[in-house]
């Protein structure tokens, strides 16, 4: 079993500014051979392959393989590199970006891509009629507000200077802009196909990506085939990928062990984990990697007694994180801050709140709750989250807090969190996974004032105007040369959040992928932090 979580190695990559002119540092794998096909299993139906709409972890990398955007990431890493734009310039004031498109890029339908397509695609995703969940990411582009209220149908900040050049004007400098251009939502789509299929474009996707859709049998399988005219030389390696749907994870693993399947898309189910890791032959084909994810307990700071910071700090000190990690068979590392270790802006060496039940009880007494109190802990009902919640419950009981568990379907927990009726929520199963590898992504929706509204994802309802101002200030530093300064500001912001003990971070989940013996490719492709779960463009078969 190879561990990829030498966090020091990845952090080295971030010692350098995160987007130093987005140079492509990728070196091709000398062992890679073209050809072959693989089978991947998933339990859930593929929702949609429309890049403006698809937003679940399952279709995220599938869409990435069918479409491209102006920016891209070096495979297996969180480093930006040029995508459809082979180079770009940023103006002095940081609000005008000029992208030079690669010549000769064609859509799957044969037509050549031009700057007009970029304008069309970005206008489409910000158009309220498309109902895109990612529209909000483009708020920094000029003309966004006009799109939102319906007074415009084209995003005025995006213009096609000539067929090979796109200019984008922002309404304010924003350090996350290039990351946003690498999101699936910013993928380039052909206008004629979108208009032909209308809302069914998600079933008939046409893009510029490494693969094209060959077949979709509803409820059974989705088949990708290689795009022979792909603009990146030499990839993809595979001729065909078959995604089989509706496979229970335990059965999928049985089939992998039987040699019928190459990759169980939902990972190794907890029930089989020990068996697999206990067998050296199988453990060898398991790849472990970190994720840009944190599991945390939210406490509603507007509901007493959680409006008292000492109570929240006591909760932080009461949780036995090592034991919880043991309960999930060691598939995580204990966390002491909101950001995961592989995220730029992570505060190395931060101590946080150590496990100290006696100290927690003392703190509670100081806060006026020497006899404890009663509360509720909401949790999603799928394994292993109820178990984790019960472990948390026992830890809280040890310091006098009686938390009754409300294990509900995901939608109901999200509703309770948004409405502010849940005093404590264990985020497992709904925990925040980064949309892009930048510390800002962890703040605004789940810790900022904008997310603290009714229905928002800031389940703690925490609104610290000071921190919001600091966040905006940090994000206005878009000059890559000053990115260290910016990351330091973010680090300070999250340290402040921990001082306020808004959350009790518990662990950062590790991702485990198991592949069949015939699959090849660097390990980091199988636990790609951006192309979740696997980077389909760069893996190959060795037979």
């Amino acid at each position: 079993m190879k561990s990829l979580l030498a966090s020091s190695a990845l952090l080295m990559a971030f010692a350098a500014p995160a987007f130093a002119q987005g140079t492509d540092t990728y070196t091709p794998d000398p062992n890679a051979k073209p050809g072959g096909s693989i089978t991947i299993t998933y339990k859930d139906d593929v929702a949609t392959l429309d890049p403006a709409i698809g937003y679940d972890w399952q279709n995220w990398s599938m869409i990435k393989s069918l479409f491209d955007g102006l920016m891209d990431y070096v495979p297996g890493t969180t480093d930006l590199r040029p995508g459809l734009a082979e180079s770009y310039e940023i103006s002095e004031d940081g609000v005008t970006y000029t992208f030079h498109l690669r010549p000769g890029v064609t859509f799957h339908n044969g037509r050549e891509m031009t700057a007009d397509d970029v304008v069309y695609s970005l206008s489409r995703v910000t158009n309220p009629e498309t109902q895109s969940p990612g529209a909000g990411f483009f708020g920094m582009i000029e003309g966004y507000d006009a799109m939102l209220d319906g007074s415009a149908t084209t995003l005025s900040g995006v213009t096609a200077v000539d067929p090979q050049t796109v200019q984008i004007k922002l309404s304010r400098p924003d350090a996350t802009f290039l990351h946003v251009m690498a999101l699936n939502f910013a993928s380039v789509v052909p206008k004629e196909t979108v208009e032909e299929f209308g809302p069914d474009f998600g079933r008939n996707p046409v893009g510029t990506g490494a693969y094209k859709l060959a077949d979709w049998t509803l409820g059974q399988q989705v088949v990708f085939e290689k795009n022979a005219d792909y603009w990146r030389e030499g990839i993809p390696y595979l001729d065909q990928i078959t995604f089989e749907i509706g496979q229970e994870p335990v059965v999928a693993l049985l089939r992998l062990q039987n040699g019928e399947v190459d990759l169980p898309g939902d990972g190794i189910p907890p029930a089989k984990f020990q068996e697999v890791m206990g067998d050296p032959a199988q453990a060898e084909r398991v790849i472990q990697g970190g994720q840009l994810q944190t599991g945390y307990i939210t406490m509603n700071v507007t509901q007493p007694p959680f409006d008292n910071v000492q109570v929240r700090q006591a909760v932080n000190m009461a949780i036995n994180k090592d034991r919880i990690v043991q309960i999930i068979n060691g598939r995580a590392v204990p966390a002491n801050q909101p950001l995961p270790p592989t995220m730029p802006g992570y505060t190395e060496g931060y101590e946080g709140y150590a496990f100290d039940p006696e100290g927690a009880k003392a703190l509670l007494a100081e806060a006026g709750f020497a006899d404890g109190f009663e509360t509720e802990l909401f949790v999603m009902n799928t394994d292993p989250n109820p178990r984790i919640a019960q472990a948390i419950q026992q830890d809280l009981a040890a310091i006098g807090i009686t938390a009754s568990i409300q294990a509900l379907a995901q939608a109901n927990v999200i509703e309770a969190g948004g409405a502010g009726t849940a005093p404590m929520i264990w985020s497992g199963g709904m925990a925040w996974i980064a949309d892009f590898p930048d510390p800002a992504n962890f703040y605004y929706p789940i810790l900022g004032c904008a997310g603290a509204v009714e229905g928002g994802w800031n389940w703690s309802k925490y609104c610290n105007e000071d921190l919001d101002a600091q966040a905006t200030q940090a994000d206005s530093i878009s000059d890559p040369a000053r990115s260290d300064e910016r990351l330091q500001m973010w680090s300070d912001i999250y340290t402040r959040v921990m001082e306020d003990a808004v959350w009790a971070p518990v662990f950062n989940e590790e991702r485990y992928t198991m592949r069949s013996a015939r699959m090849g490719g660097a390990d980091n492709l199988y636990v790609d932090p951006v192309s979740i779960p696997v980077n389909y463009d760069y893996v190959y078969v060795t037979e």
Binding site: T41, K43, D44, D45, A47, T48, D50, I53, Y55, P128, E129, Q131, P133, G134, A135, G136, F137, G139, L148, D149, P199, D200, G202, R203, T217, L218, G219, Q220, E244, I245, G246, Q247, E248, V250, V251, L254, R255, Q257, N258, E260, A409, Q410, A411, N412, I414, E415, G418, A419, D435, P445, A450, V453, G455, W457
Partner: protein, 306 residues
Amino acid sequence: MAGYLLRRLIQAVLILLGVTFVTFFLLYVLPADPVRQIAGRSATPETVESIRKQLGLDQPFWIQYGRYLWGLLHLDLGRSYLQRSEVAELIWARLPPSLLLMAGAIVCELVLGLTMGIVAALRPGTATDNGLMIASFVGVSAPQFVVGLLLLYLFGVKLHWLPISGYGTFSHLILPSLTLGILGAGWYSRMMRSSMVEVLRQDFIRTARAKGLTRRRVILRHALPNAILPVVAMIGIDIGIFMGGIVVVESVFGWPGIGQLAWQAIQRVDIPIIMGVTLVSAVAIVLGNLLADLVAPFIDPRIRLR
């Protein structure tokens, strides 16, 4: 007969109307907001409101319900909130495999259940009888997920006789039908035995034997037709019972049916799919009951349709 049929069909339509109403109402009062799910976690309040308006979810209950019924008349079941594709298309694609699975399960249930029940009834009180009845109870108590995995492991992984999962050929149908059917077989066998023992004790059976008829003839011509009536009634109910088991069995065997669709939709509160699947299963249940009522007089001519 024609009058009866007509009356029942009209009643069926009324029932289905009632089901759509209750279902729509329940989904309407559910606090989970579908618009937030569609809008995603990074949406601004303005985006959420805009989507709500576009989907017509800001309208009062009666208008929304009315629009849904209007769509039904055009066989339009709406579009899934999360998948954005047409519900009718999704259900249409997944219905045939589920129907096939149910048919296979009914065959297994009848073959296994009736055989066990009759054999047990003919040897009451013996070890065979007790053994078969315990087997029936085990069949009913065993969780279907576990049964499915066990069968799959034994016949798929260890013996390699049958495919591990999937859909397409007859051999793919065997294990899922068996898993789904074992539960029903337990019920049928128990019911059949009970009913049969009851019938065999009656005077007219002794009369028939006394008249010199062979044991076989007595059983087949006199006992069985009387005993099978409750079983026939149960077949009509089967579809309702299946709805629960089908979710589990389809997921274990990777069977592309509507069970998986329904379960996913319920967990995510994807209202159009939930409405569509509920409606389809309601139609199946109502028709199933109607069929059972129509068949009953053929089994027992004393019963008259009224």
